[in-house]
């Protein structure tokens, strides 16, 4: 099974990477860009008997490593 784990910054947390990208795009002449924010995705392939089991595992991974809850949210989307 393959899942994409999306990690985004919580609202109100500054996103310097998004800001810098927006600035660079506008400098290149893309004046219509109103905002840019950055996200990170981990595509994880996992052996599991069921989606439920896999989801439990992935949630644990997020808690233990992938996400810092002070600044980040995450959600999971199944690819396969």
């Amino acid at each position: 099974m393959i899942a994409d784990v999306y990690i985004e910054l919580k609202e109100g947390v500054t996103d310097p990477e998004g800001e810098a990208t927006k600035k660079a795009l506008r400098l290149l002449g893309f004046k219509k860009v109103k905002s840019v924010s950055s996200r990170k995705v981990f595509r994880i392939e996992i052996d599991a008997r069921s989606k439920e089991e896999a989801e439990r595992e992935i949630k644990l991974m997020c808690e233990k490593l992938l996400v810092n809850p002070v600044i980040q949210n995450y959600y999971i989307r199944w690819v396969e």
């Binding site: 919580k10 609202e11 109100g12 947390v13 310097p16 810098a20 810092n68 809850p69 600044i71």
Partner: protein
């Protein structure tokens, strides 16, 4: 404890890269110090003579660098690996009032570990991180001199011998901006101030709290370094070990302070 009896471990995994100078700084003060790979504490592939436990040491340092490439988040992989196998041991170590320092990447590790801000005396390592060191406001790596005002009133065991009010340690990091949970920032700052947990704050040459580039990352309240509620766990983004030898020697006092603390322990 006699100075010669003091044993310091500088912990590393792949990507840690400031261990040599950190070891050298401690050794120069006449204590035993060695760089130790995290695996030496738990892995069964390590030969007997290279196996270690926390009880072999009186002080632990988490040095700077890019542990595991700083992938996922700076310090996250190092701290997750440590937490999964050695959390209890490290908690015991901290409860016994042995000192722990995290410099730069080491600070990131302590934060991700939940050992800083470290409000709970009985559970020195929180279940979840309570703060974060985010990407610098400039969105890039910043290598520059930083002026730090020492504001600790005596709790932090790493700065007791510091005589100057303002010191210069260099910074070199991309993720060093102190962030507290949204909406609770004031509460956190107040608590740190009241507990005497604030250690260093970024200032300009006149000693004023100033913005970029003096505050190189955009940290809240210009925070550069904090300690836990018992004062024996200390983390900071600037590098005292890079200000140990000529021409900048302000950082030496950090190492001298902890050695003196251990001598009295």
């Amino acid at each position: 404890m006699e100075r010669e009896e003091i044993k310091v471990a500088v912990l590393r995994i792949e990507g840690t890269n400031c261990e040599d100078e950190t070891v050298k700084a401690f050794r120069e003060l006449g204590v035993f110090c060695e760089a130790v790979h995290l695996k030496q504490f738990y892995s069964d592939m390590i030969r007997d003579e290279e196996q270690r436990t926390f009880s072999d040491y009186n002080c632990i340092a988490f040095p700077g660098g890019f542990s595991a490439g700083d992938y996922v988040r700076a310090g996250a992989i190092f701290s997750a690996r440590l937490k999964s196998v050695l959390r209890r041991d490290l908690e015991e170590f901290i409860k016994q009032e042995y000192p722990v320092i995290g410099i730069c990447n080491g600070f990131q590790v302590l934060v991700e570990l939940g050992a800083l801000p470290g409000f709970d005396e009985d559970r020195p390592i929180a279940d979840k991180p309570e703060m974060a060191l985010c990407i610098n406001d400039s969105s890039r790596f910043e290598c520059r001199a930083a002026l730090l005002k020492h504001e600790n009133r005596g709790k932090c065991v790493f700065t007791r011998k510091l005589e100057k009010e303002v010191v210069m340690f260099p910074v070199a990091h991309a993720e060093g901006k102190v962030v507290f949970p949204k909406g609770m920032e004031d509460e956190y700052v107040d608590r740190l101030v009241q507990n005497d947990q604030i250690v260093f704050r970024y200032v300009d040459p006149d000693g004023n709290y100033a913005g970029y580039p003096w505050n190189p990352n955009g940290s809240i309240y210009n925070i550069a370094g904090i300690c836990n509620v018992t004062g024996n766990v200390f983390g900071l983004m600037p590098h005292p070990e890079r200000a140990f030898w000529y021409p900048h020697e302000d950082g030496k006092a950090v190492f001298e302070s902890v050695v003196e603390y251990l001598e009295k322990l």
